[in-house]
């Protein structure tokens, strides 16, 4: 979060300042990349590059504070994600996921990496049971770290609608966690 420096950085970035553009990138790229990886494992890095080029191209049009900027960036990220899916539908490809190379190059504890990976995949599998709009809300709130208002801007919805969607999403996730236990109890009975 840039805080008070955001306005000056944004103005410099509008003039094409490379340091200012790099600052904006470093501030938000982890969240953007996490969000894109959660939605598209295959080509998240490429989509992220397109997102930042689009952000740079649209800086002159943007009006708002830092919170609005975060929501606007994820609006672009979602659009580029849709574009990438369309391209992939026209020209199917199966590139190796970025995580594969990360795991190969990792110098940490392989067991911990695998466990973390399993937890990550389990979380995504749980989210995949949600309707698309609820899954989007949870990803933007949890992965991208957006507030309700920022997520509402990114999704083009009202904040109240986002609250309703996240509420339903959490309840359904709780149901997903409870269902195996209920099934076990039912089987024993």
């Amino acid at each position: 979060v840039l805080g008070d420096d955001f306005e000056a950085t944004l103005e410099a970035a509008r003039r094409g300042s490379r340091p200012a553009l790099a600052t904006l990138y470093e501030d938000l790229q982890p969240n953007v990349l996490a969000y894109l990886r959660a939605r598209s494992h295959a080509d998240a890095e490429d989509i992220a590059s397109d997102v930042w080029v689009s952000v740079a191209a649209g800086l002159q049009r943007f009006r708002g504070d830092e919170s609005g900027f975060r929501g606007w960036v994820f609006t672009i990220a979602r659009r580029r994600l849709v574009d990438a899916r369309r391209r992939r539908a026209r020209r199917p490809a199966d590139p190796a996921p970025h995580e594969v190379f990360v795991a190969i190059a990792a110098d940490g504890d392989p067991e911990a990496e695998v466990v973390a990976r399993l937890d990550y995949d389990a979380a995504l599998a749980a989210l995949s049971t949600l309707p698309a709009d609820q899954e989007d809300v949870v990803l933007l709130r949890v992965v991208a770290g957006l507030s309700v208002e920022e997520a509402a801007r990114a999704l083009g919805k009202l904040p109240g609608t986002v609250r309703v969607l996240q509420h339903r999403a959490l309840r359904r996730l709780a149901q997903v966690l409870e269902e195996p236990l209920a099934e076990r109890v039912g089987d024993e009975a």
């Binding site: 094409g16 982890p30 649209g58 709780a174 409870e178």
Partner: protein, 349 residues
């Protein structure tokens, strides 16, 4: 607290707003339980990947994008305003065109628009209620009024009346007169009908014996040489086929030389068959042949030709018909077949 049974098959504890927010942002939950498990499920998603500094290539693209965008549209928001203006203009044109086609514009404006667009081949209704003409300009008949405004305009009615009168003159035999070119068949008075298509007279109208009125009409075959018929047989009682002669000559048919000159309908002067213009003159010297010869040149293109009208001399030997012209007139004489005239026609061709 349990959830509504109709939405979830498994009972889950209630969820208030602070708890939901804590689960989503990863805050520490006060109570363990279902929502703590949900928070633990979502925890791996919060681990952000390590983000390196942007590559030089990506920075180049970002810089170019930011710069080109600024230079491309110096006025902020211009594209949207331009699009709005264009959309408004299109909507205005469509609405205006619809009103013009529906004849719903004010009268003066409707007339102006119809007149203006007519120059480019688009016909719109005039404010007086006339329907739109869908006939393209290229398919209109030559000489036809192009728009209703041509008729409505100053002098338009007079022009139309004149056109109609000329058309009537060209198709209906005058009451009297002589066509110098009327060199009808001696066998009968003329009366062939000019063919509007070919210009050639429809000769061959045969005498109708059943007509007691004795209106000779037909049979006359035009002679393109303009050679007058020297003698004429008594006109048979014929029935007019096309034009009704309005003059009944007193002269006997046998005396009406030149096919009883009668009304000679010249062919269409401007038609393809090249029927000559009926330019003959008549000199009727006998007082009874009072009707001056009237020669009408068939000049109207595509219309019925002029009518060479020959007045049948009423028994006057001095009746002289001069027919110097090369006309295709048809003798179209009227007269009782039994009446004998005293005239000695000497039509001079």
């Amino acid at each position: 607290m349990t959830d509504r049974g109709d939405e979830f098959s498994v009972n889950v504890p209630g969820l208030d707003e602070p708890t939901a927010e804590a689960v989503l942002v990863g805050a520490e939950l006060e109570a363990s339980g279902t929502w703590a498990e949900v928070a633990g499920l979502l925890a791996p998603l919060r681990e952000l990947p390590r983000a390196d500094r942007p590559s030089a290539e990506l920075l180049d693209r970002m810089e170019a994008a930011a710069t080109s965008r600024r230079l491309g549209w110096p006025v902020r928001g211009a594209p949207r305003s331009v699009l709005r203006g264009a959309a408004a203009l299109v909507a205005l044109l469509l609405g205006f065109s619809g009103l013009a086609v529906a004849n719903a514009l004010p009268a003066e404006l409707q007339r102006f628009v119809a007149r203006t667009l007519d120059h480019v081949g688009i016909s719109l209704p005039m404010p007086d209620g006339r329907g739109p003409s869908i006939v393209p300009r290229s398919e209109r008949a030559p000489g036809a009024a192009e728009t209703s405004d041509d008729i409505d305009g100053p002098g338009g009615t007079a022009r139309v009346a004149g056109e109609l009168q000329r058309a009537a003159d060209a198709s209906v035999a005058p009451s009297s007169g002589t066509s110098g070119a009327a060199s009808g068949d001696p066998a009968g008075s003329g009366g062939s009908r000019p063919d509007a298509n070919t210009g050639g007279p429809d000769g061959g109208a045969q005498p109708d014996p059943s007509d007691p009125a004795g209106n000779g009409n037909g049979g006359g075959k035009p002679d393109s040489t303009g050679k007058p018929a020297a003698t004429g047989k008594p006109s048979s009682t014929t029935k007019p086929t096309t034009t009704k002669p309005t003059t009944t000559t007193k002269g006997g048919a046998g005396n009406n030389a030149g096919g009883n000159a009668g009304t000679g309908n010249a062919g269409n002067g401007a038609n393809k068959s090249g029927n000559g213009t009926n330019s003959g003159t008549t000199s009727a010297t006998h007082p009874s042949a009072t009707a001056p010869g009237r020669s009408v040149s068939a000049t109207a293109p595509g219309k019925t030709g002029g009518n060479g009208v020959g007045a049948a001399p009423s028994g006057s030997p001095a009746a002289t018909i001069a027919a110097p012209g090369n006309g295709n007139g048809n003798g179209n004489g009227n007269g009782p077949p039994t009446t004998k005239g005293n005239g000695d026609p000497h039509p001079n061709g």
